[in-house]
Amino acid sequence: MIDSFPYESWDEVATTFWTFGPEDSTGTYVLTVLGIILMVAALIYWVWLEEKKLTAQAALLRGAGGLPPASPTAPGPGFAEPPLAGPSTDPGP
């Protein structure tokens, strides 16, 4: 069993040493605020990036003619062979 560390001589420093300051200090408040900002910014970025990707892909698929137009008309015979067996990014004619 290791019991020969000079614990008494440095435990005070080790216990209270936090980067940017000890508990309930300006440093820990600042770190907390920065962490919350990163968390919120990441969520907003996820929303923005996904919206961009989905919009682009939906436009590509509609432009490729692989899907019927979103109209009130009933599906016609032209849709009998839908190209939906799997992913495709072919922009088409």
């Binding site: 200090s25 968390m39 839908p82 939906l84």
Partner: protein, 496 residues
Amino acid sequence: MTSSLASMLSALLAQAPTPEELQEQINLDSLVLLEVFYFFTVVIMWLIHVGFMAYETGAARRKNIMSTAMKNILTIAVVTPSFYYFGWYIYGCFEHGGPAEGHAGPAEFPGFCGLTAPWSAGMAGNLESSLTGHLSLVFFLAFLLFSWTTASIMSGALIERVRLSAYLILAVVLGSGVWIMDAAWGWSSGGWLTTNYGFHDSIASLVVHGVAGAFALGVLLNLGPRIGKYDREGRARTFRPHNTHLTLMGLMLIFTGFYGFYAACLFIQSTVFPGWLNIYLSPTTLGTIAMVITFGFAGGFTGGWIASRGDPFWTLSGGLAGVISVSAGADVYHPSLAYLLSATGGMVAVWSGGYIEKKLRVDDAVGAVAVHGVCGFYGVFLVGIFAGGFPTGLNNVPSSFGGQLMGMLAFFPLAFLPGYIVSWLLKKANLLRVPPEVELEGLDMAEFQQDFFPEFERVPEVVVLPDGQEVEAAPILIEEYTRTNGHRAGAPAERR
């Protein structure tokens, strides 16, 4: 000779530790044991999330596998910081519905509330040897894993049409707000439901599973079914999972992780008999709950198998449902009682799953509302009948059917309404659901621009009709898309 022995004896006695030193050593060993115990429950509980990822990915169609898996992975990225900054504080300070005594928190644990703030001593590396010192970090981590679990329960229900970002926002609300509020109220020794009504939910049938299921139901009502899930008569079709083996393995991993979940729901009190306490600080033992979870699986598999007439997916889901059904009383139940009750739980999951899918026409892709939601509520209901009178919480209020009912009445709106309202807001902002064109093609191409099985030949997607006939899916999906003009829940017409 005699003097030599006497001097040796006196020298030994001089070196012998005093009773105070021995007590200090015992206390330190006890704290180390406690810290190591919770650390490894956290490690084992990671398997729950490995399992959820495999389970849901296997249940998804080939075109949606990575978008499904990324939900589970990114749950960790968003729930961890939000639970650190807000969730743990809610648990520490809202036992009476709010921080009744300001930052000091509940009278039962003075100071605990303040220690749950993210800038406090208890929330970072420190050398304070006490339950509210460095040991609070492993408690925090165990609760964090519970939080991931609540979000993961919801994630499976939403697959193949929800936006990843929408799911992440909902995961934060559920994992770092809703569930931990109900835990503060009814899953702590000082919670108002516990101290006033004797509400008893030892291993979180309702506070984790039931609440996550109710939240998911609120989201599903706004999200709507996958394109092609229901025919014109409202009859349910079935989409073939791309890998049922992966789904079953995922469930088995979840089961393994649940042993860690069960263990993490106990406190060690290694210096006082019997050494273990439940979440309400009532005595129990690790062996007691280990027996209940094991017999819960046995009964749940049996009930699921009987009710589903041998369907593999529902047989395994029945195991999980069985355990959830007996978790609330796992510190009390006899193994035979757990076996019997969990068998009914497995059946309840199958029947309620069919009702939700076919009658309510709610497209829950993995049966999460039935397995977790319905059986979570069923579990606390059973405690009111089969464990009535057992003392619970700091006030030792006997558990009762009325107390359990009070918990159910408090938690259903607490869970359902936030899920419904937040998903409704996302729907109104057109941020809840992917565009229908993307849904038909598959989410992976839009989200990641690649096919994640490039070496395998692509085969036509199939769908199982209500009469059991298996047919090619594409014509049906196109027809359903066209019939609704591409307008689905969460995708207003003006955006396409």
